[in-house]
Symmetry: C2
Subunit: 493 residues, 2 copies
Amino acid sequence: MFEAAEVGHRLSKDEWDAQIPELRRKLLEAEYRLVEDPRAAVAVVVAGVDGAGKGDSINQLHAWMDTRHLRTHGLGLPTEEERRYPPMWRFWRRLPPRGQIGVFMGSWYTAPIIDRVFGRTDAAELDRQLDRIRRFERMLAHERVVLLKLWFHLSKEDQETRLKKLEGSKRTAWRVSKRDWEHFELYDTFKEVSAHALRRTSIDVAPWVIVPGAEPRYRQAMVGEALLGALERASRSPEPASAPAPIPTPSALDERTVLSALDLSQSLSKKKYARSLEELQGRLNRLTRKKRFRKKHSLVVVFEGMDASGKGGAIRRVTSALDARQYVVTPIAAPTDEEQAQPYLWRFWRMIPRHGKVAIFDRSWYGRVLVERVEGFASEAAWKRAYAEINDFEEELVEAGAVLVKLWLQIDPEEQLARFRERQAKPFKRYKITDEDWRNRDKWSAYARAASEMVERTSTEIAPWTLVPANDKRFARVAVLRAIDDALQAALE
Amino acid sequence: MFEAAEVGHRLSKDEWDAQIPELRRKLLEAEYRLVEDPRAAVAVVVAGVDGAGKGDSINQLHAWMDTRHLRTHGLGLPTEEERRYPPMWRFWRRLPPRGQIGVFMGSWYTAPIIDRVFGRTDAAELDRQLDRIRRFERMLAHERVVLLKLWFHLSKEDQETRLKKLEGSKRTAWRVSKRDWEHFELYDTFKEVSAHALRRTSIDVAPWVIVPGAEPRYRQAMVGEALLGALERASRSPEPASAPAPIPTPSALDERTVLSALDLSQSLSKKKYARSLEELQGRLNRLTRKKRFRKKHSLVVVFEGMDASGKGGAIRRVTSALDARQYVVTPIAAPTDEEQAQPYLWRFWRMIPRHGKVAIFDRSWYGRVLVERVEGFASEAAWKRAYAEINDFEEELVEAGAVLVKLWLQIDPEEQLARFRERQAKPFKRYKITDEDWRNRDKWSAYARAASEMVERTSTEIAPWTLVPANDKRFARVAVLRAIDDALQAALE
């Protein structure tokens, strides 16, 4: 893997002087082209051997580029705050939007490699993490993030020479600590683990580029050339490679679906409702105040359902049991400009709660396989790959301690019509009904088909859907609270 | 995951009679379209719960289709013979060619799921296996194999009812063994592991289809519809989804590569050569006769290099140390028709040796990133994804005990010219030189670039390249033998 970086690449001063002005001109031009026509984002991952010139190279890049559109994130160990979120959260929130360049020093590769070098994980666990990274990066590529991954390499001999040279001079001896030599002792292990990691994560849309770190001019020119290639790819009218078309999946042959199979006639008397509501809200309140919840868990509740299925009312019954400082309710409508410049899941990652907090989504990331599918806002290829992307996303949440409750509120078309009419009749509710609601109603069966396929493909063993019969609002609200309480209790036990 | 299959789907006799003749007609039509215009192969994976009707469904399919183009492989545990090959070998050799349908009862999913259910693997190992399957299936999709994955489901209650019913009748009681009830006890574990496996391997190009197994008519109609969809996809002018374009990687900025850095002036005297040759051949012979080699290992040697770099001569020095019954030398030229109807790597999988055997490749699967890249026979997307596919392939070989030695024989253009001239001068060697050789020579630098990128991307910690200075034939032959001997010895120690 690293042989090619050890053949003594170098650039003479003359060659440097001859090539670099042209390279810099092209880099700036490419950067402005990207900014003016932001087709994609460019994310640069910088990793490799200590002392191979990572920092110097980035500083040089900052000198070459217009830094208004280039941002470097130096990420060390996660902070106290970041540890309360899923591990990928801190990278997601720093993803560059389209038209910008983001440089990651310290990336999603750091922990998997270091943990393995120090024996904190075994080979299988490392592979699991690397495969997840592969999926993550493929998803980014689909979402128009051009990934440039630079691995700075230094041979063991060069590394040793460098440390001795630094130690030998009074001016620089302080830069070499006992720890540097301890790390040097681990060189071979580090190299072996890195080679494995690079091999497993070098894919067509995100190959590693090995940068020989020993000679500064060659190293810097190569970094510049590599960035230029990525910038050009990001701006070029994307002549996409052709991927295999998604496979068609048969729809149900009868009218029965998990949704139509629900018994919508179930209802609750006022009296029973009042009693259950009080009991369940009390339980929810106690559960979310438990120390274990505050330290290790968060609660993410997703509400989906047809228009007028009672999501808002149910959400209010949940939030009234919670401390106002503890929760955020996010209604999902059209994305903002900022959100539109990012990969699809970015807007949801930014709303993921930390430990001890509650995030309630009134509609959610499932929009991609519901409204975006039915209305044609997403291509078939995009919504078909979304099932797997969503399952990966939810796995990351759950592994980080999130209790994820996904609720589908099911009503029938007659009940919807009655509710629409009621809304139009009552002046203070009229704002809740628009022409769009009537249009969506015409597509009832398309939405029903999308919803039942959604349940089929994303009701997983780690994040199952709870299907709530919602023709009777009281019945639905109690069922919603019970589902949340039960899930929380199961996680806290 | 399985909720949708438990809502009591059924088809009445009347509905069956109304729908099935049309479905059968369409299936046959689609099959013939595929046969006449073989754009893709269709591979059907059949898996799921015992007693959910897998066998019955396949039998029915055989009654519906023209079985000249449909072949079902009932694969149980690997045979004694199959255990001597990498685990995926038995599936590769049964892949349907384009224009045909292959049904796998017992597939690459069986062992990962069963091993986990019986606790022989842990969660991380299962995920590693599933991720590998994901990559395998994505590769198949790229190589025009349409994958239909059917999971036959039966609820726990239905499963119990079925077993009791069989036991209750004298005529069928023999069909229920103690083992069936033991398996039934594992139902919940099996379901949990399966749900996880299905979630991890449901991707856009190979999603799972859950078939409700309880009611035979519905089940059968659904299998038919699903197959029809796959057949239509296979025949349809593939309107491919757009994939992200591959990322450009910078080429070397100076003329130095791992290949140019070799010292080609190294040579060996006749006397030293004779002594080394004898010693190394003897060692090779002893190593390949060791019991440990015969039981647990195989030897795969790949020779690559420019024309006239001395591959043939070196190969003869290797084979003359081996038992003629033990090795096969395969020269790789243009693929046969049969090979062309299969995924790229198929022709190499069929030549993989079993334990105790030696396979020598005179040129190899690296053709895709060498000649096919340079001559434009493979698209940029295809050869760029090949690096990762090849690394995966080699990982499977090595994990199954293969000692993989990859040799690049390096000569310089002057030496090549001298050898070409020599060949033309000697009548008995003239057949070895063609116009094509002269044409390739014009592309020397393109080949050199492709070769050094190949080394960079596929010299992995499990299967490194050995670069052999080959201007001096004696030096090269000894280096080749030494590399093979050393690799064998390391594996056998």
